[in-house]
Symmetry: C2
Subunit: 314 residues, 2 copies
């Protein structure tokens, strides 16, 4: 069995109260020698405070829940959470994942159960989720301010298309049973770029990962369009649909994706897409959480390094 704080106290020849206080940042109340003895005993016994006891007493745990968006759980997202786990662990916090699809009542159960210190989400909280969070008084961090990020993504896509000479732009949403949380921000950014460049407002299309959908979407366009796609999967779908229709890419239609997925490297022609530094994104979200959690030394802001990955599709 794991060592308890009572074991540490006995081993150090002090009281349990002393141990608890020293280990909880009140070492200054004690003689330097005493604090030292406690620390040594704790290390020697490999003391790890019981989350159960701590949770019962303080009403909160050292867990941080991350809501996994229900978009395709590709390698990218995985890398993000991988990095976040590492970052939080360094602060003594433990990250656990949770699918964000479940009804808010399910989220509520988890909050009541684990009393997490905070909840992260890479997509904006729904109103229901937000309500549950304030109800339980648990801080939530989503990528709301990441609206900037999505704005930048739409902008960089549109600007690339414009610079490649496309005079008519479109934005391709993901239409699916899942949600499309980022699309609207990006669409707006594309519209802004069009307006600034003196081009007509972008045509908005929507499709699932489906050739019939893609065909119907292409019916709304005509040769000469440049299309900013919600993600690489959408772009690949349109790529194939355009080929079947006899439209040459990038001459008859330009396509730029988003995410720089592995598959975007193996299409013919290679997909032009947008990449960014995943670990930096994780860094930012986690940093926001840690900062608000009172952890003073927020890690330095990292650069997302958002950039166009050149290909042959736009």
């Amino acid at each position: 069995m794991a060592a308890t704080s009572a074991d540490v106290a006995r081993h150090a020849g002090l009281s349990r109260a002393t141990v608890s206080q020293v280990l909880n940042g009140h070492a200054d109340r004690f003689a330097a020698d005493t604090a030292q003895r406690v620390l040594e005993a704790a290390k020697e016994l490999g003391y790890q405070p019981s989350t159960a006891g701590r949770m019962l007493r303080t009403g909160t745990s050292d867990f941080v829940v991350a809501l996994v968006p229900n978009t395709t759980f590709g390698g990218n997202l995985q890398d993000i959470f991988d990095a976040a786990t590492e970052l939080l662990a360094r602060k003594g916090l433990t990250l656990v994942l949770r699918l964000s699809t479940q009804s808010p009542s399910s989220l509520d159960r988890i909050l009541a159960g684990m009393k997490p210190r905070a909840v992260l989400s890479l997509q904006p909280f729904t109103d229901a989720e937000r309500a549950v969070l304030v109800e339980r008084d648990i801080p939530g961090f989503d990528t709301a301010e990441g609206g900037d990020l999505n704005d930048a993504i739409g902008r960089i896509q549109a600007e690339h298309l414009v610079s490649r000479g496309y005079r008519r732009l479109a934005f391709a949403h993901l239409r699916d049973n899942r949600e499309d949380p980022y699309g609207t921000d990006r669409e707006v950014a594309v519209a802004e770029v069009c307006s600034a460049a003196g081009l007509p407002a972008p045509t908005v299309i929507g499709l699932g990962i489906d050739l019939d959908d893609a065909g119907a979407a292409l019916d709304l366009l005509e040769p000469g369009y440049g299309v900013a796609c919600y993600n690489d999967d959408i772009a690949i779908t349109l790529l194939t649909a355009a080929g079947l229709r006899g439209w040459r890419v990038p001459d008859d239609i330009g396509l730029i994706g988003m995410d720089h997925t592995p598959l975007s490297r193996v299409t013919n022609p290679r997909l032009t897409t947008v990449g960014y530094d995943l670990t930096a994104v994780a860094h930012m979200t986690v940093a926001a959480a840690l900062g608000a959690l009172g952890q003073s030394d927020v890690p330095p802001m990292a650069d997302i390094n958002l950039r166009v990955i050149p290909g042959d599709s736009a």
Copy 2:
């Protein structure tokens, strides 16, 4: 604040001990009327036992940890965990996810912290993971017996290729920095089918999601081969590489994928692949866990419904 068992007791005009026993399956020790009163009061107050208190007392929680494989999985994985979450919730258990990449010490921290009732994994546990689990005396369920499943997958791929007239087979592994836990089982199954059909042993190739890799892999083959691929991503990569080389699919080379990912529906030609019922897989894994957890009424074994999804690539 949430209602405690003491609140329920007061509300029902009984003692806390009575409430606890009734709610923990010992209702038979009490008068039917009493049990009824407890249940009503509990429901009325929306009583939810504190995980912290319960964990402290019993030494275990109602959490089940699922290790998310770090392979490049498609959205499929998400559906699996989605279904598993629902199934476990029905039994009062709460599923949380965890990336399986982290070092075993990280797993150990999670086990010590949340005292999960069980740990699930869709890929075989490493020796280190297994050691940590037995150390903490926490039951672990992986897809070890799922070797059958992978055997069936390789078999169905190979048999389809043979039935389409390919006389020379190959198996394409995923070569990546990540692991490839299922590949070997499937490769063996393909070899068995070849042997049974009187064909030469399959050629084994490996590649990442990369056209150069794919080109090098194709160098090992020649027109007329039928290739069973580790997953759809691999198949799509080979599909593009074959096209660039001027090999016609399915005439010069046959390709069959695995997973029935959305993108497999939008290639040209459409990918022939293997699909299965995801919820059934979740059902099986969770059923194994629940069964061993003493929950008597194991859900009925569901049919995976493993089948070839016809396409135009083999």
